[in-house]
Assembly symmetry: C2
DNA sequence: CTTGTCTGATTGTCCGACAATCTGCGGCGG
DNA sequence: CCGCCGCAGATTGTCGGACAATCAGACAAG
């Protein structure tokens, strides 16, 4: 598509046509990983993927590079790319890093842009609504992590938000492996409401401590669910 | 290793044993950017670089992808990759993000691994020594930023350190453009010594405030030197 | 059971090709 | 004279094939 020479009218296709073949391939690979279609540690063969996705090996290779950069896969020289396998240490590190980033957001609650504060409330609402509506674990995780990212956004720093999103991506990889095992996302929803209530009461200190416990707990839960003691 | 056909390279090729051609190409591009051989905004043409580096276009393309991922360059669809141009807003954001990361390290001074504390002292020593020895700007910047990264390492989180290094890379890009203009790196060295002394005295609060001022000042100075008001 | 070698599979890199797209220039009409 | 149109060159995005280097497993030898 994309011809029609005589047309000079600007079409709406400009917005989503922004997708290149590499982007689509990378997105498909991400989906396959999060959907659990490929297990952790599975090697991603270039030729096989090229055939399966109907694109050239060069394109697959570039898409794999994106996955590796996102931390969803690892590349070993001359041994190719395989789906990253979450280690207990990396889960702990992700949560420690999250504590720093989200803690910074929480501490900045008072001075934060009102718009960002509103976004936190909205993210919480979407999360609790999704829980009440009994959405899929995938959707719940998505809303849950989006809420935590919205906390980082309180800092007003795009780069910290980007860093937080990278951490969440890594976490989603880990969660993709234990999705069906755990369902206590419910309690977490209430826990998050409590966190925001502390913030609304300007109890930044308390909210910080709450967050610290919450993340500590999250790390333990995930590691336990992964069976990595 | 792979073959390297006749090349028009203007400089000696670096052989690091277990490094791929892509890595070497990316490293060469980084060097060219930091060395100021290419100005900000300069388009990086794939065929020209392939010829200049003596590698294939595929390899150049992959190396450019690395540069883009590092934030040293930007890619616009169908318009290619060009050296990123630092904006005032991005410099401010980098410094705000640094404050969060380095602040977390400073606050964790007491609980930090003694090895990491020692590394901070060593990084400071290397920096001040380099200043005393009258090293080049490039070397001073390198030591200076390494010191700040060592503060982040106090958190013990590899991911936060990686994030900090990414921020420093972006900052180096900005500094590469105003290198010769600034000379007050000296005062900064003393300032850093004072910071560590506060830490040694367990005055974490004071050190944090000190760091906050330091980073605020750094942002202003860099933006001013860039002439971006 | 250990060790060395062979063979097939896979990656890293190169080359050439082509359509789609961008950019700058010159012509045409107003 | 100015602005719009389209053309030609340059550049990217993607493809397909090729080959050496390297890795993994089987297999034979000690």
């Amino acid at each position: 598509m994309g011809r029609m020479p005589g047309q000079t009218t600007a079409f709406a296709t400009l917005h989503l046509d922004h997708s290149s073949t590499v982007d689509r391939a990378a997105e498909e690979l991400r989906r396959a990983v999060f959907e659990g279609e490929v297990e952790s540690g599975t090697p991603l063969r270039e030729v096989a993927l090229a055939a399966s996705l109907g694109v050239s090996r060069s394109t697959v290779r570039e898409a794999l590079g994106v996955l590796v950069a996102e931390g969803l896969a690892t590349r070993e020289p001359h041994r190719g790319v395989s789906v990253a396998r979450p280690a207990a240490s990396s889960v702990r590190d992700v949560c420690r890093a999250r504590l720093v980033l989200e803690g910074a957001g929480v501490r900045g609650w008072r001075d934060a842009d009102p718009v960002d504060r509103r976004r936190v409330r909205e993210a919480l609402a979407r999360y609790t609504d999704a829980v009440a509506a009994g959405d899929s674990f995938r959707a719940l995780n998505e809303h849950h992590l989006a809420f935590h990212v919205s906390l980082v956004a309180l800092t007003g720093s795009p780069r910290l938000v980007a860093a937080a999103e990278a951490l969440m991506t890594e976490l989603k990889l880990a969660l993709a492996q234990v999705d069906r095992i755990r369902r206590n996302t419910h309690d977490q929803a209430e826990s998050h409401t409590a966190l925001v209530e502390l913030l609304e009461a300007d109890d930044v200190e308390g909210a910080g401590a709450f967050l610290c416990d919450h993340l500590e707990d999250a790390a333990v839960q995930v590691i336990g669910a992964l069976g990595l003691g």
